[in-house]
Amino acid sequence: MIAAPEVRTEPNYLNAKEGVLSWLLTTDHKRIGLLYIASITAFFFIGGFFALMMRLELLTPPSDLVSPETYNKLFTMHGIIMVWFFLIPSIPATLGNFILPMMIGAKDLAFPKLNLASWYIFNLGAAVTLYAIIRGGVDTGWTFYTPLSTTYSTGYVVGAALGIFIAGFSSILTGLNFIATVHTMRCPGLTWFRLPLFIWSMYATSLVLVIATPILAITLTMVGVERIFQVGIFDPALGGDPLLFQHMFWFYSHPAVYVMVLPAMAVESELVAAFSRKPIFGYNAVAFSSLGIAIVGFLVWGHHMFVAGQSVYSALVFSILSYLVAVPSAIKVFNWTATLYKGSVSWDTPMLYAIGFIGLFTIGGMTGLFLAALGLDVHVTDTYFVVAHFHYIMVGGAVMAYLGGIHYWWPKISGRLYPEFLAKLSALTVFLGFNLTFFPQFILGYLGMPRRYAAYPPEFQMLHVLSTAGASILGAGYVLPLIYLTWSWRYGPKAPPNPWRATGLEWQTPSPPPVENFEETPVVNYEAYDYEAMKEKLALG
């Protein structure tokens, strides 16, 4: 029999108030972070279910498990849910919400009520989209390309778009809150260049959220207006241009990729420093590369339209600019790797995820260069090569870092330790399963297998079977943490304030933290990740 759970006696944010209402009406950034974790975990598994159905359909060449129409809906809903209801809020709204104010020594975010509102808006948007899915789904792909979405599609386009429109405002509120907080709420002594790199990256993410999301809102509004009133905003018959939709959509959606990967880089910097016990090599370069990615990320959207009919000159400009993104990304990868050099590296679970991230992100990033090359892109556009590329960034990058971050901060969030052996097992399972799922897709794409098809010629079957097998392993790797973290929430051993002996302010307060984060406002008189200056303090902790 399992021993009765220990009673948390010291006052903290979890036991300060009891009851469902104390959670639903909370303005505590830590509790809101947990609310978000609950929401996005649910959506992760819903989106994952759609992916699983697709992979099962693709086991055999003909379209036999589901009809092609159903398959169209499956990949559309997988994309919509994973992009807008999991990846975009994933790290910022959960770990960002929880950790960002603590890292800068603040009692809360600048606008706590807006923070709670953002969670409700997110769930409202999600509910509307789910309703559209239950009523019959959408088949346009997550990109809602015109004129399919405005004229020809028979799915619930307006419902799905409305849900995304609403959820967009939760992104905007989160970004707005983070920017204002980082600017005005830093504790005494915490200058910009003493901030943990997590904050720099999260700040860059917030800039993208705030600048790009409104364009998505207005673009989806235009699609909705065109579809409802039949007025042809993007219809050539009325002098409109379907490509204008793509320009506007990708002005949002390309930077949105950086909304997914910049927070992953934020977590990555913390993990690499904490488990190498060294300051990040080239702090300034890593800090500015975050801003660089956010800025250059806005200049490259046209590489999604190389074969769509934009002018050759424009394609050329976007192709060259796209290469530029590789520079700040590479700076980060090199600097994390250089940090490991002569560090005292320990292989705890978060570090396994962090190392996995570096490898997978590098593959994803390098194949991105293939796609930025005009000539090669014509060959692989809309093939599985593209699918594999962005899954290496989003799943291999963003989800790996999310899981690494969840494990790293779990003792702080829950006040409990997770079972290390199971966690390492899951990290390994995720890494292997991921590669087995998506690496064959690079080959498939290069051989000419187009994306978004339910049926395919028999010679592709071997690679598809490998991919489906990998997806099953990957799925198991994701269910495992759900189980043992839930267990650890109640029964895990109690965590000390600073189990990793890390330097961030969030570790200099009890686990779980008190309601206002710190017993007294901290004062910072040392640089970020300064293990030397912190030696005595860390030895005591």
Binding site: I211, L243, F298, G302, S311, S314, V317
Partner: protein, 93 residues
Amino acid sequence: MAEPVIRRKTYALVYIAMLALTLATTLLAFLNMGPFNSVVALVIAVIQAALIAGVFMHALYESALVRIILTGSVLWFLILITLTMTDYLTRSH
């Protein structure tokens, strides 16, 4: 930074200038200046926007952060327009 308080006389001057600019832009629109009609209309609109933002909305008197946010967002709007125009201005058909 302390809260800026702007004299009512300044507000009044800006108000009069705004009305004068509106009259000017309307009257100028009746002249046929070819492509310069749009240029004049837009330049005057930009001046009017700057007056409202600078004085009525205190941007000139607030902290640098406010001006950075304002110029940043205008800059990003220009990025959106400029890069889209690299396509539309160079289409061959």
